[in-house]
């Protein structure tokens, strides 16, 4: 058709194409990975939760600052400071497991199965193992329990649960069946975490183990009574 204008049209569009190509080159200069939209969406969700976390942490910082301010305000008054410190100490002791606690919660009793073995069945199937107790305790922690004891032994951060023959070693003491696990927390949630279908507790019950869960509005959990052997850890000065 019109050869003259065609030339310029082609030139013009080649220009556009060239610009887009170099834009793309600029963009892809770095390592380019094929990222589906779903992945991008997932990353967005992760990012969002991280932001939420930052927000929470900032709130904690603000609260701590408030506390510091409050301490500074009562610094002058000796009696008040002592009172405040004792309060704080009580809280810390309760959190660390060095004071007796009371509250609503559940009592879980776990024992070996009373059923007869099938022919050729491994007796291990009907025995309570350390791993079973450990899993149950973990389930309770997931369900939001605030304090746990097993056969009167408070579970603290260094508490071990390890197989010792037919018994289990907890806080350097040996305990045989049955295991009575007490936990303070929302009783309904704790109960559900042990007996709801699909939970570890329900699985154990299916195997024939004796599992009994009772909710109670008054659970007593004793304090940690063993000694602590601290050899390696040192406190780093906080703040500043």
């Amino acid at each position: 058709m019109n050869n003259k204008s065609g030339k310029w049209v082609i030139l013009f569009f080649c220009l556009i194409l060239g610009i887009t190509i170099s834009l793309e080159l600029k963009n892809v200069k770095e390592r380019y990975l094929y990222a589906p939209l779903k992945e991008i969406h997932d990353y967005k969700i992760v990012l969002e939760s991280e932001k939420q976390e930052i927000k929470k942490i900032k709130e904690v910082i603000r609260e701590m600052n408030k506390k510091i301010l409050a301490y500074e305000n009562i610094k002058d008054d000796d009696g008040k400071l002592k009172y405040e410190m004792l309060d704080e100490l009580k809280n810390q002791k309760a959190m660390a497991g060095f004071s007796e606690l009371e509250g609503p919660g559940i009592i879980l009793t776990v024992d070996d199965s009373k059923r007869d073995l099938f022919e050729g069945e491994d007796p291990n199937n009907v025995i309570v193992h350390d791993a079973d107790v450990l899993n149950l305790v973990n389930d309770l922690k997931v369900a939001g329990s605030e304090a746990i004891s097993i056969n009167g032994q408070r579970i603290i951060n260094t508490t071990e649960l390890i197989c010792a023959g037919h018994s289990i070693r907890i806080n350097n003491q040996f305990f045989a069946q049955p295991f009575v696990i007490k936990a303070i927390g929302e009783p309904k949630t704790l109960e559900a975490s042990l007996i709801a279908p699909g939970t570890y507790g329900a699985l154990l019950k299916e195997f024939g183990l004796y599992i009994e869960v009772n909710t109670s509005s008054h659970i007593n959990i004793p304090a940690y009574e063993e000694g602590l052997n601290v050899k390696y850890m040192k406190v780093i000065k906080e703040g500043e």
Partner: protein
């Protein structure tokens, strides 16, 4: 032919100085669209050499193909099927076809001289 290469080179040089950027997540769609546009330009040059060039057809082809290819890649992403392969194969194949025809025409022209 020469004018197309000249345009491309000028465009690429210009593009490096143009301060426009777009999100990297659109990079895939953009590259498929570029492939479609490249095919259109090749087709246009071929038509021009064959003296069958029509401005309107060229322009609509240029934008239509590019948008369709980009859209196809996007839809494929949404559906989880790599539909942009369709655009790559189609336009890639046509690119070579156009180039082959163009090459024959050029050689014929040179021989005639």
């Amino acid at each position: 032919m020469y004018i197309a290469i000249l345009g491309l080179i000028i465009g690429i040089v210009l593009g490096f100085y143009v301060p426009i950027t777009y999100p990297t997540s659109y990079s895939l769609y953009m590259s498929v669209a570029i492939l479609a546009a490249l095919d259109s330009v090749f087709g246009g040059v071929r038509a021009y050499v064959q003296e069958k060039f029509e401005t309107f057809i060229f322009i609509t082809g240029f934008f239509g193909n590019a948008i369709l290819a980009g859209l196809l890649a996007y839809i494929g992403d949404k559906l989880g099927v790599p539909l942009y392969y369709a655009a790559i194969f189609t336009f890639g194949g046509r690119l070579f076809q156009n180039f082959a025809i163009l090459r024959r025409l050029m050689i014929e022209k040179i021989r005639e001289k």
